[in-house]
Symmetry: C2
Subunit: 218 residues, 2 copies
């Protein structure tokens, strides 16, 4: 299957993404772009990671939503720096939005900057933001066929998270089908099974993040 | 809150949508545009309606997906006419795609033409397809705040379906929050609570469809 991406449209974004990446590196921040469907549990996942990462890290969050600031309020209630982006109908975050949000957030590392993208498995996958790591969060009740229907987001992720494992057995979901569907488009990315609601499986994700925290180690 | 829609970009689509609507009316078909997040249960919902509608109706389905034909195969297995559209990365269906799919499907009523849109709560809401009715399918595990985060799709729907009610109590979802969030953007649309997995609540949706089947009555 050929995935069509408008190269000329993206080039200005890609340039800004490279500038963001340099800025993040200089600030000793590891950018983590978190993509998922609406309601897969991105905010719960990021919240869990924030509370589990070593306290020596200076971590923050950029929250992307079409409208509202529910998620930013949840992160702020945990005591972490957060900036809300509202796209007013826009279906993805772009690198320019991230640059402006970084101006507002004024975060400096060493640490992680989590970027919660718009709830959408399609458009956000086409836009680099300057992240070092891209994670896709799928969830059990969405079914096991999402990597077949939305291949680009699964193909371009460095880690695949399967959330809401506490609902296994209560919905139509076969783990072997999901793993096979991920592997068909992404042979290498680790697949972490977690339940943010039950706080299960998350320490393996934290370990993986710490292993991949390039500039944040400094 | 102001929802921004690119009027000039949409005008060619709107013209094609009007032509689709005239064609559907002439064929005595009621077009039903079904929108939802990935994995909310659109295919299960449409499948249930197809098997419950009176057999005198000649019903069919246009399936939209970024990739794959899993959903079309499910509909075909039920014995109903179906055409699959693959957008190869595109995040929504447009009226031109529907016109071509109707050429292929060759469906004539009286009956319903269900259009399963791409799994995406944002972009599809901006594109008229020529439908008489627009339904949005939300699901319990997605959480009760989706109408706040994705207002346009809930504001423009003639009916709101809440699926996977069998998971109430097992996830963080408060019905009164969901209803209030829908009502904030859409004061009038009926809200149907259903479980496609348990086959519960669907007869009310069938009754509503039959009441709103303008040309299909003929």
């Amino acid at each position: 299957m050929k995935i069509q991406v408008g190269k000329n449209v993206l080039s200005a974004n890609d340039q800004q993404a490279l500038a963001n990446r340099r800025r993040l590196d200089e600030l000793k921040l590891t950018g983590v772009n978190v993509l998922a469907s609406p309601g897969a549990g991105k905010t719960s996942f990021i919240s869990a990671l924030l509370t589990m990462l070593p306290t020596a890290y200076r971590n923050g969050v950029i929250e992307g939503d079409v409208a509202g600031r529910i998620d930013a309020d949840k992160i702020a209630a945990l005591g972490f720096p957060v900036t809300q982006i509202n796209t007013a109908g826009g279906c993805h975050l772009d690198a320019g939005m991230i640059a402006r949000a970084m101006d507002e957030l004024k975060l400096a590392g060493p640490g992680f900057l989590f970027i919660e993208n718009i709830g959408n498995l399609i458009c956000p996958a086409e836009f680099q933001l300057g992240e070092a790591l891209r994670m896709v969060v799928a969830s059990v009740p969405e079914g096991d066929d999402k990597p077949i229907k939305y291949p680009l987001v699964f193909a371009t992720a460095q880690a695949v998270i399967l959330n809401k494992t506490d609902l296994l057995g209560m919905v139509d979901f076969q783990m072997h089908n999901f793993v096979a569907a991920v592997r068909a488009v992404n042979p290498d990315a680790p697949i972490f099974t977690v339940s943010c609601r039950k706080q299960e499986g998350l320490s393996a994700v934290v370990d993986w993040l710490l292993q991949h925290a390039g500039p944040a180690k400094g």
